[in-house]
């Protein structure tokens, strides 16, 4: 129970930071102050809060769980590719969006799209698709919170109650503190979970009697494939490099780019981003793999047994039985089980707080959704001019309560693991929306119809993949179920982890088709006025 108490103290500290930010902003009922902290974040807070915003439950719990089942491949799949692609997109796109926000007062991506392409309702369609895909990200945070508190308290805090506490705390500091509170909390959390990895690695390493013997024993055992990338195909590995394109297309990341006081604050963020990713992911992936050598934690042995049964007898089982075993074998909580076993109680609590820090990154998504709703819908359709800016901010706060409640209810029902849910819906969808930004910022010839085609295609593709995976049950580990082949070439297949199209993950055709639609539909349709194009490209031809 001691670790749970430490975590509750941590939650109280986070809440205090949010309320402190609220006090500091008292009297400023302006939308720009509440939603963007008056575009005033300094270099330190900007770096850590932007990075923290992008690290969710998925970074610590999902990565170690994925590594537990699939081996070291997890790091190359998501972390090192993100270390290249995300800072690159912040460098190329984030800085430009920041400059446009400063010059023209944009507070959301949709405001920029509406202005750039001279459109109104198409902007609303983009808003709707972005909002629909952002909600799963919020759900992940709540699910992670529930799982973390349940495990840290040794089962004393049930999943539903843990999720409710996390939802309440996040909702409260976002409600009161707005962007300033969220950025401060994110900075505090990022420092915590950057420390987390190194400390967890040392404590668990000592507890296990050193990693050298564990790694060498694993190398000599049937588990040696976890030290390689045998369990993942090169097509799948390549596909994953498209996923980090989603980061800059996530509205909360783009909105965060608008909060920097000066453009020079992007410099440190771009340079240190790959190192920060490595500092968090490397220990989590390594510990997730090494957890397979632990023999004295019954829960880990149960997961390994479920995995073994699934691999050996899965083919002869009913889809429901396979799903049940898949859920039992998921290792989202292995890192917490290791801490529970090897760390002293007080340290397990502190490290648990570090995990909570990553888990609670859904704050920025909640705030972003609220910003988007109040700016792209409420203000755009006349609410701000009719009721004033103070009412706009209050509307944003009410929206925060409603969206958190909705996400909590869904989190209680969702059966998927944290990792799968995130990848399948939110990440692929936002990666597919990235041509919108590239078209808007780098191509004079892009049009609103091209943007609409990209948005509709993305929504349709995400829904199609979700329906396909709901209708065709996932096969047991091993070869995929081929659904459609053409002349001996595999076109569409259901894999144990999702869907493959020409052996690639759906994100690859989704992004490529999006890019082609932006090009061809724009070429065939009317461009915005010359004055609008000059506004965006006049400075650097």
């Amino acid at each position: 129970m001691i670790p749970a108490i430490v975590v509750f103290l941590y939650l109280a500290a986070v809440l205090y930071i949010g309320i402190f930010a609220f006090r500091r902003a008292r009297g400023k009922e302006e939308a720009e102050d509440y939603f963007l902290a008056s575009r005033s974040l300094g270099p330190f807070v900007f770096l850590f809060s932007l990075f923290g915003t992008n690290m969710t439950a998925f970074a610590i719990l999902g990565s170690s769980g994925h590594a537990f089942s699939n081996g070291i491949v997890t790091f190359g799949l998501m972390a090192s590719s993100s270390g290249l692609v995300i800072p690159l997109t912040i460098f190329l796109i984030g800085t430009r969006v920041w400059a446009l926000g400063k010059k023209y007062g944009f507070m959301t991506p949709v405001q920029m799209f509406r202005d750039r392409w001279e459109c109104t309702h198409i902007g609303t369609v983009i808003f709707a698709v972005q909002a629909a895909m952002l909600v799963p990200y919020i759900i992940i945070g709540i699910m992670g919170g529930g799982t973390t508190l349940y495990t840290i308290s040794g089962g004393l805090v049930p999943f539903w109650f843990g999720g409710a506490i996390v939802a309440m705390v996040v909702m409260s500091y976002v409600f009161f503190g707005g962007m300033r509170g969220t950025a401060w909390v994110n900075t505090f959390q990022t420092i915590l979970f950057l420390c987390f990895g190194a400390i967890a690695l040392i404590v668990i390493g000592v507890g296990m009697g050193g990693f050298r013997s564990a790694a060498q024993a694993m190398q000599a055992s049937p588990l040696s494939s976890l030290l390689t990338r045998e369990r993942i195909s090169p097509y799948y590995f390549f596909s994953y490099t498209f996923i980090p394109l989603s980061a800059i297309a996530f509205p909360h990341i783009l909105i965060f780019c608008l909060t920097a006081r000066k453009i020079s604050q992007f410099r440190k963020t771009v340079i240190f981003y790959p190192i920060c990713i490595m500092a968090i992911w490397l220990p989590c992936v390594f510990l997730g793999v090494m957890a397979n050598r632990v023999t004295d934690i019954p829960q880990i042995r149960e997961r390994q047994e479920a995995r073994r049964v699934l691999a050996t007898q899965g083919r002869t089982m009913e889809p429901e039985q396979r799903d049940e075993l898949r859920e039992k074998s998921a290792g989202d909580d292995v890192i917490m089980l290791l801490l529970h076993r090897y760390a002293p109680l007080w340290l397990a609590g502190l490290l648990g707080a570090g995990i909570m820090a990553a888990v609670m990154a859904s704050d920025s998504q909640i705030l972003a959704l609220s910003t988007m709703f109040t700016e792209d819908v409420f203000a755009f359709y006349g609410g701000k001019s009719r009721f004033g800016e103070a009412v706009q901010v209050q509307t944003g706060r009410i929206f925060i309560i409603l969206i958190t409640l909705f996400a909590y209810v869904v989190a209680l029902q969702a059966p998927e693991t944290i990792f799968e849910l995130a990848i399948q819906y939110a990440f692929s969808g936002f990666a597919s929306l990235s041509p919108l930004l590239i078209g808007a910022l780098f191509w004079r010839g892009s049009t609103k119809w091209g943007a609409l085609a990209v948005t509709v295609w993305t929504a349709a593709a995400v829904v199609a993949v979700a329906i396909f995976q709901a209708v065709v049950p996932a096969p047991a580990p091993g070869p995929p179920t081929i659904f459609w082949s053409l002349g001996g070439t595999e076109v569409l297949a259901r894999t144990p982890g999702g869907t493959s199209i020409f052996k690639f993950m759906p994100v690859v055709p989704m992004v490529l088709v999006s890019a082609l639609l932006m090009i061809f539909v724009s070429l065939a349709t009317k461009k915005p006025a010359q004055s609008t194009i000059a506004k965006y490209f006049g400075g650097h031809k």
Binding site: G83, A214, R229, P234, Y273, V285
Partner: protein, 78 residues
């Protein structure tokens, strides 16, 4: 020329991410660090170095000037 070299460096690093040559190797660097993991940790460091090069040699300083100019103009009109 500087820009072309930077674009080539970005493309080269992207290609180097697909290290099929270590795919099935379970060799342990320093006796505990799987080679596939070690390679990608080095890759992350290389990505940070590349970002430093981009920030140093291709920083979009025109954006800074444009914003400053817009702010000056706004100051004059208000």
């Amino acid at each position: 020329m500087k820009r072309i070299l930077l674009v080539v460096a970005v493309a080269a690093l992207y290609i180097l991410h697909q290290d099929i040559w270590f795919w099935r190797s379970s060799y342990l660097v320093f006796g505990f660090f799987p080679i596939g993991l070690f390679y990608h940790a080095c890759f992350a460091v290389a990505a940070a170095l590349l970002m430093w090069l981009l920030v140093t040699f291709a920083w979009p300083s025109h954006l800074e000037r444009e914003v400053e100019q817009a702010e000056r103009e706004e100051g004059r009109t208000s």
